[in-house]
């Protein structure tokens, strides 16, 4: 197979990073990205893009750690390069705070982020309702810049990108040899995955350039993440809610919760409200599947279900998915050489 034709469905952080990995591992592949939405209208654009992992209950911890390590290493190198500003990647320091001490004093990722240590008494005084905390430095991927940067890298690698709603993967079997499914929440409909469920998140993006530190409550519900131009205030975790409409009471509640952690936010300007549906699953689905219909085979690589942790593990799962694409290519080459006999 001289030039395998690969279609990547989905143009959020998972689709674009997976497409990019495929161009890196398989330079002879012709890669096309198909999506009904591109930045700034993807779920990824709503997220703050903080590298703080989400725990998937059914994925082995060592695999999650590898994904996070791969992602952190990759972004660390970009943050240290001349491209950092264009790619929207920057270091940010701050605190994760707990009202009652967490089960695990040290999360599995504590040696991957930078300088993680318990907060001192003096630091905790800033948060009178919290008893314990961790101070560390991590990375943030600002969107749209990061997605636009990925798109630019893809174009440079010869990848075509088209706005197209794919209603059925079989639509693609004539034009493409392999399909990579990075449709996030769309997989619920597209491949009928009932294990995939939305966890609705509402956030506020505000202008508050004096906020340089991130603050995150260990319960994951309240957070303040300073980005390049805006600070993301969150949030909510509404399991099973499909609504993409901002809720005014929720906005008020998020603002109040964040102001109680960082009173200076009272002076924040230009409040923008956004909603995203985290494509949640007990484990991220990074898996090959050979679809079969009327004697025709369609190799599919799935890479979806990252829930609240998409940015944290995106490069790691993209690399795995790219390897699965390589396996698909080998399998196709094997069967095509058999067919020649």
């Amino acid at each position: 197979m001289a030039s395998p034709k690969v279609a990547v469905v989905g143009a959020g952080v998972i689709g674009l990073s997976t497409a990019l990995c495929i161009t890196e591992t398989c330079p002879s592949c012709s890669v096309t990205v198909l999506s009904d939405q591109f930045s700034p209208n993807t779920t990824s654009d709503v997220a703050a893009g903080m590298l703080i992992p989400h725990i998937y209950p059914d994925t082995p911890i060592h695999r999650q750690k590898q994904w996070f390590q791969d992602t952190f290493t990759y972004l660390f190198a970009i943050s240290n390069s001349a491209e950092a500003a264009e790619a929207g990647i920057h270091l940010v320091s701050g605190w994760q705070i707990f009202k009652s001490p967490p089960k695990e004093e040290l999360p599995f990722w504590s040696d991957i982020v930078l300088g993680l240590r318990p907060m001192s008494e003096a630091e905790l005084q800033k948060f009178p309702q919290h008893r314990f905390g961790q101070a560390f430095t991590t990375l943030k991927c600002d969107c749209p810049p990061y997605l636009l940067w990925l798109e630019k890298r893809l174009k440079a690698a010869g990848t075509q990108m088209y706005t197209r709603k794919v209603a059925d993967l079989w639509e693609l079997h004539r034009e493409y040899d392999i399909v990579v499914n990075c449709t996030g929440m769309g997989a619920h409909q597209l491949v009928g995955d009932k294990q995939l469920f939305p966890v609705r998140g509402q956030v506020l993006k505000v202008h508050a350039p004096w906020v340089t530190q991130f603050i995150r409550d260990g319960d994951g519900l309240t957070y303040i993440y300073p980005g390049i131009h805006r600070v993301t205030l969150g949030g909510t975790r509404e399991k099973g809610s499909w609504s993409l409409f901002p809720d005014a009471d929720t906005t008020r509640d998020i603002f109040d919760r964040c102001c109680s952690l960082e009173p200076s936010l009272q002076g924040a300007q230009d409040i923008e409200v956004k909603v995203g549906l985290r494509p949640s699953r007990q484990c991220v689905r990074v898996q090959r599947e050979l679809l079969s219909q009327g004697g025709i085979k369609l190799p599919v690589v799935h890479n979806y279900g990252h829930g609240a942790g998409g940015f944290s593990v995106h490069r790691g799962t993209a690399k795995e998915a790219a390897h699965l694409v390589e396996e698909c290519i080998s399998a196709l080459q094997g069967s095509s050489s058999r067919a020649k006999l």
Binding site: N80, S93, R117, W210, V211, T212, I228, S264, Q266
Partner: protein, 348 residues
């Protein structure tokens, strides 16, 4: 009781505020006046980036370390107040970098979360073998000085835009006590060979992705001679110039290139940053801060001057401790003049 403050930088305005807050109610006859040839945004304090950080060593000047600590603790206490944003006050974390093992700084236990850098963090800064991480404060002069000015104006303090040529000039008008907060120009009022300019130059850029301060050090060539990057609320300051004895307030092309090249080497992404301004200023450098009373005989009158100048590149860092000390000196003067039974405030 007429009190004249000479100088409207951070030292003059904060000294005026401390005195006003502590003595106005006890001394209804108190009339405070501020005289200056430059007001915000044209003072040295306005040009400074505003990072709270003393020099690495206090050279045995424990008093200065105490004033620094007093300032930090005072500002930390203001962080959650509604005034913080208007004051230009916020928390910031960052890096101090060295090419050799440095001694611990005098302020290690004053700032928050002080620690050594991990090997992984040092990878961010090739060429630097040691470093510190800590969380400190920013106090932007461009916001803080207007805030101080508003507070003073609300409390009836009068401002006069004029260059005072001598202490005598004010005393002959009936001023009782003069606070000399004239920074670099103190030598014009009273010769002081120990006061010398520490010329600095900075480039202002838009680099909002930079969320940490980065201060490099060259222990042999001295403070602020090595590149530094300090992000503020509106722009990021690039610097690394300290020229002892240079009185020029003109921007130098050579210094511009030196700052630009060295900061871009430190943070390659800065090459894409847009330059929005450039500024040169004179740090009023002195082996130690001059904070003391001086009684001047004028005929049969004893005139009192409280000197509060020579804060070098750490004026914002030390200002509140000095203002409180100046206020205590003022209290002593009042006591001697039998204006007060005992001075207010805690005994130090």
């Amino acid at each position: 009781m007429r009190v004249a403050v000479i100088g409207a930088g951070v030292i003059g305005l904060s000294s005026a505020l401390c005195i006003q807050e502590q003595f106005q109610s006890l001394l209804p006859s108190l009339e405070l006046e501020v005289y200056a040839d430059h007001f915000t945004p044209h003072t040295t304090s306005d040009g400074a980036a505003g990072l709270w950080q003393p020099y690495l060593s206090d050279h045995g000047n424990l008093q200065e370390t105490l004033w620094n600590k007093e300032t930090f603790d005072h500002l930390l206490g203001q962080l959650h107040s509604p005034a913080a944003k208007e004051m230009g006050l916020f928390l910031i974390s960052g890096y101090n970098l060295f090419r050799e093992q440095p001694p611990d700084p005098s302020w290690k236990n004053i700032v928050l979360g002080f620690r050594n850098l991990t090997p992984k963090e040092l990878e961010l800064f090739p060429g630097y073998s040691h470093g510190w991480f800590n969380t400190a404060l920013m106090l932007e002069g461009r916001s803080y000085l207007p805030w101080l000015t508003n507070r003073l104006t609300q409390r009836g303090v009068k401002f006069f835009h004029k260059k005072v040529e001598s202490f005598q000039e004010l005393f002959s008008q009936g001023v009782d006590v003069v606070l000399n907060c004239s920074g670099m120009r103190s030598g014009d009022l009273q010769p002081d060979p120990e006061l010398q300019p520490g010329r600095g130059q900075i480039i202002r850029v838009l680099a909002p992705w930079v969320k940490h301060f980065i201060i490099t050090h060259d222990l042999k060539s001295g403070i602020y001679t090595s590149p530094y990057i300090i992000p503020g609320s509106e722009f990021t300051v690039l610097g690394g110039i300290y020229q002892h004895g240079n009185w020029s307030e003109e921007n130098s092309a050579k210094d511009h290139k030196s700052i630009w090249d060295s900061c871009c080497q430190l943070l390659p992404a800065l090459q894409k940053a847009k330059i929005v301004g450039e500024w040169s200023g004179l740090r009023p450098a002195r082996p130690s801060v001059r904070l003391e009373r001086e009684s001047i005989r004028l005929g049969n009158l004893q005139a009192e001057v409280i000197h509060n100048y020579g804060h070098g590149g750490f004026g914002l860092t030390i200002h509140w401790g000095c203002a409180m000390a100046a206020a205590r000196l003022f209290g002593t003067i009042l006591q001697e003049k039998k204006q007060l039974a005992t001075p207010p405030g805690p005994r130090l």
